[in-house]
Symmetry: C2
Subunit: 272 residues, 2 copies
DNA sequence: CAAATAGTGTCTCTAAGACAATATCAC
DNA sequence: GTGATATTGTCTTAGAGACACTATTTG
């Protein structure tokens, strides 16, 4: 007879059942300001996603989201932060949970459940760390557009590497969107579907402006702010309206950006 | 030397690392129409949550969300649906993922990660299955209100059982809300925090109207629709405005509800 | 008729989109 | 001055909240 909880727990064994391995994978995004085509024109922005080239089987030489196995004593969030720091040397300010992937057979190595996160990294912090072109981790520029039937083309490109995947958008009864893989391209595992969900989560979150600050340095112009928003959402916004909408989230500084070949822009910072 | 992926996988072993146990837990909600205080007055609604009384250690005789361990070969969603069906004999139309709880030490039995889902069950289907008062599974009526400091009182009551927990609302950098337990009341594990998150997810989702239909029978009056919405969101809405807002989600039938002591109401059904 | 809910019409206010106009710099 | 961005002002429109009003039934 075991009466006390203490006694019960000291005799308790979890190990009779088979257990899955658990991973955290991260879709880390960055917005980079590209080159300017003209000395006085503002640069175009690109949305970048970090991928790592797999060195071993399975999916050897294919590209995958960074991630790794959960260690005992850490949360899945800590695991995600650790993995992204190992790849980039940057510790992101925050990560956002996107979903759990537990479909049997999704990983040929066995029973593996993956927790997907989105993280946002500022261009500044990545530049400081330098970028090793020979590394197996690279930032790919993202293009993700859907047609009226919910078929999305995902194109990821970095120098002469171009990964193309095709996804089909599905809705759950609760209105959540997820993606079914039509063509995985050269992406490992079910990571094409993960990237789709991560992009959808990123775009939906970007409406709140709050997360946009993670892409920006401490002080920024409203135009830079707007370009980041437009790049993520893949839309264009009239400057007058954008300024009105974000006015309650930012406050002026007394600094300006000069020497750009046109009217100087006031620098703002996040309010509160 | 292993060159082929096939060869690699046939030799691959996942079992060298310790692995966590994984569960799916479900916050199953129902809206019941209570008694009417007056022969011609419409009944008040109550939001109900299904809890099970724990028969064994740990947390023996405390109340918990229904849930159980993930089996090999099923997704966490299938596991959640299976668990809710085992407890209620009802298979919900849909479940919604809410979050993953992986804090070390959250379960005294060991390393256990829990996937939380919300499900919505129609009053009709529960009534059909009958309700066993001697069962260890019971529907508790929910009260969940916060003050201006983000401190929430969660009260769950069923007959003479009253569970009271206190939670503090926290925001992640990405604007997600979660809850820290101040006082767990008589709820097992970290389930008080889970219930808080489930309620927040339910309320946020209820804004879309879509999920409200899962609480309703196939044909319903607009007033019934509105009461469900008001019960979940804990707000009150002017009928004229509510009708305007939902008009695009419903379509008329030619049936009426008569004999209620006042003007008959037209029955509607979900559009498309 | 009284009590209650069912259902409609319309005023106002606000937030977002469109667009015009002005301001200011580097060259 | 020219070419570019920065910044402001205002018209319009869509949607939500408030509220007054009418309609219909049962006891």
């Amino acid at each position: 007879m075991m009466d006390s909880e203490k006694e019960f727990l000291s005799n308790y064994k979890l190990s009779d059942y088979e257990r899955p391995s658990v991973t955290s994978d991260v879709a880390a995004f960055m917005v980079s300001s590209g080159d300017r085509e003209n000395y006085r024109r503002n640069p175009e922005n690109k949305l970048l996603l970090l991928l790592v080239k797999r060195g071993g089987h399975p999916f050897k030489d294919k590209w995958a989201l960074p991630g790794g196995f959960l260690n005992k004593g850490e949360t899945i969030e800590e695991c995600a932060l650790r993995e992204i720091q190992e790849e980039t040397n940057v510790l992101p300010a925050a990560i956002m949970p996107v979903g759990v992937f537990s479909q049997p057979g999704r990983d040929p190595r066995g029973w593996i459940i993956s927790n997907l996160f989105v993280s946002v990294i500022g261009e500044e912090s990545v530049k400081q760390m330098g970028c090793d072109d020979a590394s197996d981790a690279q930032w790919f520029s993202v293009s993700f557009e859907g047609d009226e039937n919910g078929v999305y083309d995902l194109t990821l490109s970095y120098e002469d590497v171009e990964l193309k995947a095709v996804l089909s958008e599905e809705k759950t009864r609760f209105g959540r969107t997820f993606f079914r893989i039509i063509d995985s391209g050269d992406l490992a595992f079910d990571h094409a579907a993960m990237i789709g969900m991560a992009l959808a989560a990123l775009r939906s979150e970007a409406k709140n402006y709050d997360m946009i600050f993670d892409f920006l340095p401490e002080k920024f112009t409203l135009t830079a702010f707007q370009k980041v928003q437009e790049t993520i959402m893949n839309v264009s916004i009239l400057p007058a309206n954008f300024r009105r909408m974000v006015s309650c989230y930012v406050e002026e500084t007394d600094e300006y950006v000069r020497g750009e070949g046109h009217r100087p822009a006031k620098l703002y910072k996040r309010k509160k």
